[in-house]
Amino acid sequence: MSPTSIFAPVSTPADSIFELSMFVLAVTAGIFVVVFGLLVYAVVRFRRRRDDDGSEPPQVYGSYEVELAWTIVPVLIVVALFLATARVIASVQHPPKPKDALDVVVIGHQYWWEYRYPKFGVVSANELHVPVSDPAHPTPTFLTLLSADTDHSFWVPRLAGKTDLIPNHPNSMWIDPRETGLYLGQCAQYCGTQHAKMLLRVYVDSREDFDRWIEAQRRPARADAAVARGRQVFETTACVNCHAVGGTNANGRFGPDLSHFMSRDTLAAGAAPNTPENLRLWLRNPDAIKPGSLMPAMQLSDEDVNAVADYLESLR
């Protein structure tokens, strides 16, 4: 089973689209069977026979009655499809918003995702955590979609349809996943060289797990004397121009916030698992993992790479 199939919805917007798609599929399949049947019949029945005498068939020029019939029937089908569609548009685009809904601001950047939880003061990247929503007491998540540079699109097929992130044009969407787990997706609007590896990971946590995650993210970054050298390298090179680590002088905004770097399973917007080897490779030569990403190769010595990697691995 594909983890990104649109036929396995676990959230209300995806459910509504799924139901509509079944209706549309049934109608179009019906039309297909009828018209294709007529075509096959015509091809078989009205082929010129081998023993044809060469005479012309009766010349028929048309019939307004027949034309009227095959105009009115499609009009009725179109009206039915339109009404069914309009109902789903209204329900997905104008949802009720309960008081305990979670708000997350999603900011698309060239080839990574920034997630901000304004109510909690949490800033994270690339791996979105949301609470599961009990259908009896829905706790949906409302996403405000912004872009820092080019157009992007947020598409996690099992949770909802896609909505674009466009600079100067704030959008919104919502999800209320009813099952915990990891849901995958990726950027669905061409945004530049590494559009392909701008992957989406949405972790739907139980209420307790989500609260624990938020608690951990709210704490300032850990300061560990054992990795002081790595921290010093990090803070005295260009790393800090793009990356932020809470509670230090690193406050760059172009790249992902690294305050709780080790709470993430993947590197480079899902391009590789977050392992010590991958992290060192990423620091040495980002193009090896994600060619064209905006992270530069920092030309650090092996010693410094290890020190910085140790420092980053201490940021839990």
């Binding site: 199939s5 509504s16 075509l39 009205f46 499609p74 339109f82 540079d149 044009h169 559009h195 992957l199």
Partner: protein, 558 residues
Amino acid sequence: MTTASVAWTDTDVAPRPLVERLHEWVTTVDHKRLGVLYIVYALVFLVIGGIEAMIMRIQLIAAHTDFVSPQVFNRMFTMHGTTMIFFVAMPLVFGFANYMVPLMIGARDMAFPRLNAFSFWLTAFGGLLLYFSFLGGSGLYGAGNAPDVGWFAYAPLTAKTFSPGHSTDYWTLALLVSGFGSIGTAINILTTILCMRCPGMTLGRMPLLAWLSLTMAVLVILAVSPLSAAQIMLLVDRYLGGHFFDTQAGGSAVMWMHFFWVFGHPEVYVLVIPAFAFASEIIPVFSRKPIFGYPVMVAATVCIGFISMSVWAHHMFTVGMSPAGNGFFVLSTMAIAVPTGIKIFNWLATMWGGKIQFRTPMLFCTAFLFQFLIAGLTGIMLGSAPLDWHLGNSYFVVAHFHYVIVGAILFTVFAAFYYWFPKFSGRLYSETLGRLHFWLFFIGFHLTFDCMHIPGLLGMPRRIYTYEPGRGWDTWNLLVTIGVVFQGLGTLVFVGNLIWSYFKGERAGNDPWDAWTLEWSTESPPPAYNFATLPVVRSRRPLWDLKHPEDPDWKYEQ
């Protein structure tokens, strides 16, 4: 009559210096020669665009392939899309319209022969500009590079910040220049049809191809103008400090989308209406019956032309329009299915009760009916906005529009090639090779584009140079790539057939299909002046009236 035409042809091909013959082609203002130039030009670019598609398909044959870099892949899909739309599909429909319209309405040339030549050379120059970007895209240093902004070039990716260098400028200028060429040709076709018809050919007696070319020409004028305006605005943004689309200075990315799609959707009909035109000429001849419901076919076409101007934002269901906006474009998009359905039913009714001869053109037209039916139905799915929130920008939409552009347009263009090849060249094509081409291409087409729908349903977005394993996309992508091989072989057979038949094919005579429209009343290939004496017509099928004086059409037509 046949002997006379052979004698004429033989004296005409008496060897003359190559330079002299080339010079004639470059300076020609004859609508038939310009038509052939358009078509040959399009075929060259068809091969180039096809190679670009093959490069992409090799890259996507499996997850995490390293055949090309992401940069090259992005250039390939940009160049493939731009080439196929602007330098293959448009020149093909213009080429056929140029060649056929004056012959079918009994005129001796287009209304403005010099404008015709000028428009062709503008288009030709546009294509060269686009491809020069491979050499000059980055200025003087480096190997240059082609545009990589996608064929609809969404802002702000085209801004100087995100597209430094000149590759995007070549894209812009190529479309601007060829756009002026398109508008020139459209004005020419429009004027020719309105002013140059032979005696007796009222609007209601024109061949459907003329009516559909008329609609196409109006759409070109209405659609290409906003595109050209947008290209000029983009140039102003990039070089004169304008901020139309520069979001970093308060410009609007959404406005570019509106400009582009207000061109982009009518453009689909600019291309598919000529496809309808070919089918509407070929299906009756090989079914041995007149087109069913001529006035309704004309009305449906004009209706499609009108509605197609009001559906553009169905390309924008995911950009955050209001529910009312989405609702309007759902309704207008679905409304267009009604006149389109009428056309399909009329083609079927034309075949109904006929004696259908499955020569190669008819094979392609039958496949067109089948494939256009499916393309229409997936179009209804995509027109339902909530489904589009999933399927838009996924491989499903890529499969859908290739079903239209290849399955409907290219298939009928192939049909038109085989149908009119005897008229163009004076010789018959090889029926065996034609059938081989059909079956190879039919199998390849379905392998590629049927399978391409599935990864879209499984969450695969378009324009990604590689993808993750384990998402259920691998097998489908492998099948899609295998299909390309069959299409490539089919195309080779087609080109081989054209070349072989041009030199070695049987003499065709004036009217090999026993057809009914005026182009078949003159020699093959037609002389420079088309008709020695201007024909006079009394019905929509003048040659039927000639061949059946006891039972002429004008006694019965609706």
